[in-house]
């Protein structure tokens, strides 16, 4: 259907846009998340009475921009994955808006939602369990193409996607078990790209891979972004990975975003005590050298009985009484940098 010209060397993929966007100012918003809340009811007794809620995501707002990556970091249980799942409605959201192309995904009726969904695709964490072992790679990648792009040459589209992710075109008849971990993650990426999405949500796409393979998958994701102008929401617990791939970084703790900043500021520009502690606990790959470690005691509290006020107060070395009663809201630090902390102006990190 689409004749392959010199500008689009890889099948149906559009050539990269030539116009240059003004840096750091007007990026086109492709997804806008406003005050997203996901609560899971806790049920007890034979009548399954709701006795409380696990506030997995408690008021999260952010924007995704065309061709840019937002990294979402945090420890296990902080609600990162739940955010991702809520965006594609794999879990029901309690409240909030997810606006894509002027429509709220959370309230859109089913037929419309189905059309909007081809714009948002997901890459999952575990390359071993997220591919159906009984389907060929061609069918795995082609499934969404058949649905969202009827009339298109599925086989060609699948093979184009495989080629762009560095898999051989002939491999589309093979089954997932015939591939290594890194290759399987490429299949997952190819599947996500098949419908030409504007947004790709990647939930820990490299955590299950070895470092050398991890580097290759990250390079691939980065070059695909430049080529296809995709917006990534990149979820990970690994700060060094997120630094490498993201333009902006959002740090989550106990269901809320505590700080959003430009990735250039990661090393020394952050102001939230939790972000600081997180960065300081990354081991340095140099013997004898150590970061100025902010040792956090204790663990993340249960989101079922989250403390009132600031979620981080139970582990924060800078806690004051105000933190126990008032929940801090996101405040502007500077352009593209917001933080939710009562004391960010006073605390001096050495």
């Amino acid at each position: 259907m689409t004749p392959a010209s010199e500008t689009a060397p890889l099948g149906g993929f559009p050539a990269p846009e030539k116009k240059t966007l003004p840096r750091d100012s007007a990026h086109e918003t492709v997804l806008c998340v406003k005050d997203l809340k996901v609560y899971f009811p806790v049920k007890k007794g034979i009548f399954k009475k709701t006795v409380g809620h696990v506030k997995a995501v408690d008021g999260v707002s952010f924007d995704l921009f065309k061709g840019r990556t937002l990294g979402l970091v945090g420890e296990s249980g902080c609600g990162k994955t739940t955010v991702a799942k809520a965006l594609v409605k794999l879990v029901p959201a309690h409240q909030g808006q997810v606006i894509c192309k002027g429509r709220d995904l959370l309230t859109a009726p089913a037929p419309e939602l189905r059309k909007l969904r081809k714009n948002i695709q997901m890459i999952f964490q575990d390359p071993f369990s997220s591919l159906d072992p009984k389907m060929t790679v061609g069918n795995i990648i082609g499934e969404a193409v058949k649905f969202h792009r009827p009339g298109e040459d599925v086989k060609k589209r699948v093979q184009d996607c495989m080629e762009i992710t560095g898999l051989r075109r002939e491999y589309d008849k093979r089954y997932p078990h015939e591939f290594s971990g890194g290759q399987r993650q490429r299949i997952g990426i190819a599947r996500a790209l098949a419908t030409e999405p504007a947004i790709v949500i990647a939930d820990e796409p490299v955590s299950a891979l070895d470092v050398s393979v991890q580097a290759r998958v990250l390079n691939l994701m980065k070059s695909l972004q430049q080529r296809l102008n995709i917006a990534y929401l990149f979820i990970t617990h690994d700060l060094s990975v997120v630094k490498h791939i993201s333009h902006d970084i959002a740090v989550m703790y106990l269901g809320s975003i505590v700080e959003i900043f430009n990735s250039r500021d990661l090393k020394s520009g952050t102001v939230h005590p939790y972000t600081r502690a997180l960065i300081s606990s990354i081991p340095l790959a140099m013997p004898g050298q150590k970061r100025n470690r902010i040792e956090l005691t204790g663990e993340i509290p249960s989101p079922m009985d989250a403390p009132p006020g600031c979620g981080f107060q139970t582990r924060c070395p800078y806690k004051i009484t105000r933190c126990e009663t008032h929940r801090p809201l996101l405040e502007r630090v500077k352009s593209r940098h917001t933080v939710a902390c009562h004391r960010w102006k006073e605390i001096k990190f050495s």
Binding site: Q214, K243, P283, P287
Partner: protein, 330 residues
């Protein structure tokens, strides 16, 4: 080195007999652990790190696995071919192990107190009450608050970090002289990881215990290891004190591995990568196993397996780049 090593592995070969052929999980591994010291074994998945650890404790499932060659000398005693009963006296008592997954390696149907007390009762004192007291003491030692109450809890009532602390408590309850830790912090978050590493270090000093640490995280290695062994395809390709490994790496695989480690201090656009994949263990290259991926491969690398070349009394690497006797037939 006047000191007698606590553990010495000589030319260990562990093979697996599969339907498709024989796979060498360990192919001539030799290493030493001195009392009180930490040896880190690093490598990618499938490089034979865990097989080496399992071989030491005789935990290789037989069939399909079997130790076909070599010696594992622990305090001078060869563990290879030791009887079941004798091995049981050593395992958990003199050599303890921490497994990777704190979620799956605890028994979900037993209280944590009972799981810690189990090994104490087996190896030291059959009195249950005393063993439970010891368990409580251990929980306190690994920094679990309210140990008396936690003793009666089940693993599912605890978080990942807590469970890993329980694993450490079980492993250390009999004061082993060697602790094998297989990826002890890989499943944990960074803030919890730094707590656990600090705890392990503290307890190691307190109990004068040697640690064999298996990991793929170069950051963890830099922070904890005295010596480092780098494994690739079942053999050690470079071995040496931590300082030499980090600042004076000799083997191209180690150099590549170190480069592909991400750091928040870097600002590279495209990450350097090691090309290719780990070879199929059934069809290993005839010469150096790293040769198909090596950026500096030479003619001889295709034909002959390199022997260790020593740079000082402890630092050695198996690579033709650094010379070695070309006529050595392997």
């Amino acid at each position: 080195m006047s000191q007698d090593p606590l553990l010495e592995i000589k030319n260990l070969e562990t093979v697996f007999f599969t339907d498709d052929g024989v796979i060498k999980g360990c192919d001539g591994v030799s290493l030493k652990v001195n009392p009180g010291e930490t040896l880190a074994v690093v490598g990618e998945s499938g490089s034979g790190k865990s097989v080496t650890a399992m071989s030491i404790l005789n935990l290789i499932p037989d069939p399909p696995g079997k130790i076909t060659n070599g010696e594992i000398l622990f305090q001078g005693q060869n563990l290879v071919g030791l009887g079941k009963e004798e091995m049981r006296k050593i395992r958990g008592n003199h050599i303890a192990m921490i497994f990777q997954e704190p979620m799956t390696s605890l028994n979900p149907a037993m209280t944590v107190g009972a799981q810690i007390a189990e090994s104490v009762m087996l190896h030291h004192n059959p009195d249950k009450k005393a063993a439970l007291e010891k368990a409580q003491e251990m929980l306190h030692l690994v920094g679990i608050p309210a140990p008396a109450r936690r003793l009666k809890e089940y693993p599912h009532q605890m978080s990942g970090g807590m469970r890993q602390r329980v694993m450490i408590a079980i492993a250390l309850a009999c004061s082993p002289s060697l602790l094998i830790a297989d990826e002890p912090t890989s499943a944990l978050d960074v803030t919890i990881q730094s707590q656990i590493l600090k705890l392990m270090k503290k307890l190691q000093e307190k109990m004068d215990m040697a640690v064999l640490l298996i990991t793929h995280d170069m950051g963890v290695v830099a922070e904890t290891a005295d010596k480092v062994a780098v494994m690739y395809c079942g053999s050690i390709v470079e071995y040496g004190p931590g300082h030499d490994i980090f600042f004076n790496a000799k083997h191209p695989y180690l150099m590549g591995l170190k480069e592909s480690v991400l750091s928040i201090d870097d600002t590279v656009d495209e990450l350097p990568v090691i090309k290719g994949n780990i070879p199929d263990p059934l069809h290993l290259p005839p010469g150096c196993r790293f040769e198909p991926r090596c950026p500096r491969a030479m003619e001889i690398c295709k034909r002959k397996r390199p022997q260790p070349v020593y740079f000082n009394s402890e630092h050695h690497a198996c690579c033709w780049l650094h010379g070695g006797d070309h006529d050595t037939s392997v």
